[in-house]
Assembly symmetry: C2
Homo-oligomer: 428 residues x 2
């Protein structure tokens, strides 16, 4: 038997980063090393610098120079260790030049496996790599590794990154509402706390704060999701009733909260020229509305990047899943699997059991998983028992990063340099 | 020798709460129990419900019903366990009726010691208690226990609460800037991250994020304090230069950032009717200005209550100091000390050594400790080595709260009911 020729794997991080996306990178690299040691035909893992941009620019980081310890440290590092970007591979007809370039890069670096770590749009890019391989006669496999704090990827129980954001947000809501509770006595005191969280079209992160509620009537009292059209009079009445009942009201609002016309209520900075509109500002907007309408003093926090980078409060379940999808992606690629995303399948709620199964990449980009109606209470303003049952296991367990003697998490990590290019430059 | 008659202690939490203010309560109660066991003439600790309001309303919580374990759990509980308020004791001439009432409450509950846990304004209330004792012929001691995330109390090295807020903010800045770094590649990517923190007149919390900077050129790149008048052209130039140098720019801005005229740049919701103006919104405001001026995409987080309630990331040094000032306050009171605040004195920077000394309550309310010029770099946009030397020890050590199996910090704590009143009601 002639041993198969060892070929390299390409890995890149695509779209917004998370507190645990680097654990997926670690899973990929660690699996490649273990398999190579066992004699499998796998070379080095090349990580593209700044996501797909680095593929086009042939900026590839050879992870072979990383010590095993440095690979393990990827587990505890928030942000994107190799950089990320929102750039995706366009369809062939739009940019044949980019397809030519990608094929050349894959050939020049003897890449046999492509692992795309991202969300909906990135899964389409992974799918196009399969097409690219076919079109250019390249013998490659392409596998998607799910990642998104938004949790809007279909066909997987959860997307790595979400559980840690959820744990951070639920903890923050619980803590801030204890502050609010202490300060809300007296007519002139702050009565409303609003936590604005990410979620353009899907309210998973907002919904996750429901887990902070440890008793009936505890915070959060209202959760406002993009899936439920905002009805100001109804929400104001609910806020007023909550204050009358318990003295204060804690609200979670998703950045993408929309009116009955389906349009987001607040667009902080219109940057349609950047492709995405940058949402934000719905928290302060809501505070103003409630203050004007009810005459109550409101406080508002905007979590922004904090919610997707808070590695100091990562969910252990999320961290394990992030690592596992990376390792499985590399293993499956090596065994010839292609055109799939590594999906997490739930086997049981409590105790939570899960395994990994392939899900077709086809069509993932076109469909967004929104919060289903049965995960919400009848009024659409809180999580139902089914919703809580879904969410609960995803934030279980702690996984603190090491703290230095200076009292801060130690996130030092030296990214290796990019490989010397083998092709002429390519203008983006 | 005739044993002195045991008298009760009154404790209340005043002003905004912190992640560790309840540790001070725990220190008070624990010291009272230990001393009582050793035969000292101390009765029970009565905690006023909702701060000074509870004194006027005769809403006093007898902490005798708390188990020793429940007292220890105060160490790990954010918010204000007994409630807090911003209400203070006015001068006698303004409200003689309130002075009469307070004297009646002290007499009715045989209170011999008053412990006021708060910031500048609360220290003045503590001082007025001394005057009240004199005026009404009551044999009481009154001691102030420092507390403020703002760290603007004079005559103490630091105020409990600040160190934990600082640790949370520096960690958050470090984490969010790793996110920013990963996402900032490409012309259209986000280049600026702004973290808005509390600090109306003093920039200590903003300054504390300097500790996130673990190498020259690392985030945060700019720190904008109330003490340094905002010069938009100069800041915009610094942002541009930072982006040109390293690709992105992370900025901390204090809510009270002011223009050359000394007026805050952003007043989110004008609520002067509530006494304080509620500041906020300077982060989004700055993002808009930079976006308009430099054409760069900006993200902005507003920490709000999260920064003063994040017990999950408390500083161990801060927690120990919070407990210690409570215990010392009770001990000193019992030995007859009155009219002082329990101040923390720094004996050495590294390793940090400190002890507790009395500081006169007189005049504390009128003076605010601002960030001194020598704690800033020459351009006023970052911490100097002296500033870092001051800040560094205050965030040292972790002190995680227990997490339940549900993945969230366990902050359950049952507040005992208020004592049956002994006086007729008093209308506030």
């Amino acid at each position: 038997m002639i041993a198969a020729r060892s070929r390299n794997a390409l890995y890149f991080q695509s779209g917004g980063v998370t507190a645990v996306i680097n654990a997926t990178a670690g899973g990929v690299i660690d699996a490649a090393r273990s398999l190579a040691k066992a004699g499998a035909p796998i070379g080095t893992v090349l990580a593209a610098r700044n996501g797909f941009s680095g593929v086009l620019k042939e900026e590839l980081i050879d992870t072979a120079s990383l010590s095993d310890e440095a690979v393990l440290r990827l587990r505890q590092l928030p942000g994107g260790a190799f950089g990320a970007s929102r750039r995706l591979l366009p369809p062939y007809d739009e940019r044949p030049d980019q397809w030519d370039r990608v094929a050349a890069v894959l050939r020049a670096h003897d890449i046999g496996h492509v692992l795309v770590n991202g969300g909906n749009g990135s899964m389409e890019t992974a799918r196009l790599f399969v097409e690219l391989g076919r079109r250019y006669g390249l013998d490659i496999t392409a596998v998607g590794l799910p990642k998104t704090v938004d949790n809007d990827l279909l066909d997987t129980d959860v997307s790595p990154g979400f559980g840690s954001a959820a744990k951070y947000l639920a903890t923050s809501m619980r803590e801030a509402s204890l502050d609010l509770a202490a300060m809300s006595g007296g007519a002139r005191a702050t009565k409303v706390f609003i936590l604005e969280v990410m979620g353009r079209h899907a309210g998973w992160m907002a919904l996750s704060t429901a887990l902070a509620q440890d008793a009936p009537g505890a915070a959060p009292h209202l959760i406002l999701l993009p899936e439920v059209p905002f009805d100001e009079a109804r929400v104001a009445a609910a806020v007023e009733a909550t204050i009358a009942r318990g003295g204060y009201c804690a609200i979670t609002v998703a950045e993408g909260l929309s009116g009955p016309d389906g349009k987001p209520l607040a667009v902080e900075r219109d940057s349609t020229t950047y492709g995405h509109e940058q949402l934000g500002g719905v928290g302060p907007w809501l505070a103003d509305r409630l203050q004007a309408r009810l005459g109550v003093k409101c406080h508002c926090a905007v979590a922004d990047y904090l919610q997707r980078s808070a590695r100091h409060l990562a969910s252990r379940v999320d961290l394990e899943q992030a690592w596992a999808v990376g390792a499985a992606g590399l293993e499956w690629s090596l065994s010839g699997t292609t055109g799939v995303m590594v999906a997490i399948r739930r086997l049981a709620d409590a105790p939570y059991r899960w395994d990994l199964v392939p899900a077709a990449l086809e069509g993932l980009a076109d469909r967004e998983r929104k919060v289903p109606a049965d995960f919400l209470t009848a009024d659409g303003l809180h999580a139902s028992p089914a919703g809580r049952r879904y969410l609960a296991p995803l934030i279980a367990g702690e996984a603190y990063p090491p703290f230095s003697h200076d009292g801060l998490p130690d996130y030092r990590w030296d990214c290796p340099p990019v490989r010397a290019p083998r092709l002429p430059p390519f203008a983006l």
